[in-house]
Amino acid sequence: MNSPGRLPIRQIPKNRYGRTRPTWWVWIVLAVGVWIWLSESRLEKARTNLPWRPSATVPNPMAGPTGSSRPASAPDAEADFDGVVPETVVEDYGFLARESASEYRSPAGLRYTRGSAEGHRLAHLYRHTVDAPTRPGPHGVFDGGMPGALRTVDEAFRRARQKGRGVQHEIDEGRDLYTVELSKRVGFMGGQLGQTRRHPPATKVRLIVDGDRLITAFPL
């Protein structure tokens, strides 16, 4: 017999009808709920790390011609740039912090704001996540869609600010022009020249910023 007030280990308290006390069921339900919630969070995080896929698009009346299929050496490039900019391109991608209605800041402190012919720097960066095979000359294309481009640009910006090895820096009329060697593949050369040269891999990033504000970035 157990002494009153002391419960043996592993014995679940029961009410006078021999059923497990409701408080234990509450804890079990809560634990299952938390487990499901954590699983969903992990799934959502995994989804945001997938190569970016456009979900909605805004047709551009001056859409250029669709060119050749994507290069075999660029498995993450979803499609060639055909003048259509997805309206969902301005978002945080689970990577950026939203500072205001139209401004985002990266973990390294790079700001993405309104501006450029596309209307927003994120929309401009989008141009460098897909090939533009009819564009004359080279066209740098990042691997990994928008999530990949944002992470690569942030790594380049962090290294640029540290002024470490492999960073070339020029100042032009108040703007900082960096060429950052990342010593790994970050994208490939697209455009007409890239097509002619069979899309050679790119290991550098050309980064142009105005203070902490991105102007443009593309692989070299």
Binding site: N60, P61, M62, G64, P65, G83, V85, T113, R114, G115, S116, A117, E118, G119, H124, R127, A132, T134, R135, P136, G137, P138, H139, G140, D172, E173, G174, R175, L177, R206, I208, D210, R213, I215, T216, F218, L220
Partner: protein, 114 residues
């Protein structure tokens, strides 16, 4: 104005000497005071007030860019990438590098494209 939303120029005078990858396209602003032109890189947005890329360039505000010494937005309704007719009107047709034309397809509003 059909191309005002296009991110890339229709006619360019060369590669950008600043960023090395942008097209330096001719953009025009047209209002009741007439037609004026400039050259702007579609990557880094360096601006030249004439088609000679050897001349000094300038930058405007990156968030709300306006035409230099003017008040119209650089990407607003009064401005657009120049057509060949507008480039001839500016007297800049000799500066166009037609090997850079083919990024944009011919359109109904630009029948004179070679």
């Amino acid at each position: 104005m059909v191309d005002s939303d296009s991110p890339a120029p229709r006619y360019s005078v060369g590669w950008c000497p600043v960023c090395q990858q942008g097209l330096c396209g001719i953009r025009v602003c047209e209002d009741e005071y007439g037609l004026r032109g400039l050259v702007i890189c579609d990557e880094c947005e360096a601006i030249w007030l004439d088609p000679n890329l050897g001349q000094p360039h300038l930058y405007v505000d990156p968030v709300a860019p306006v035409w230099p010494d003017y008040h119209h937005s650089l990407w607003g309704p009064y401005t657009h990438w120049a057509s060949l007719a507008e480039i001839e009107q500016l007297g800049w047709d000799d500066a166009v590098d037609h090997s850079l034309d083919d990024y944009q397809p011919p359109t109904d509003t630009d029948p004179e494209k070679p």
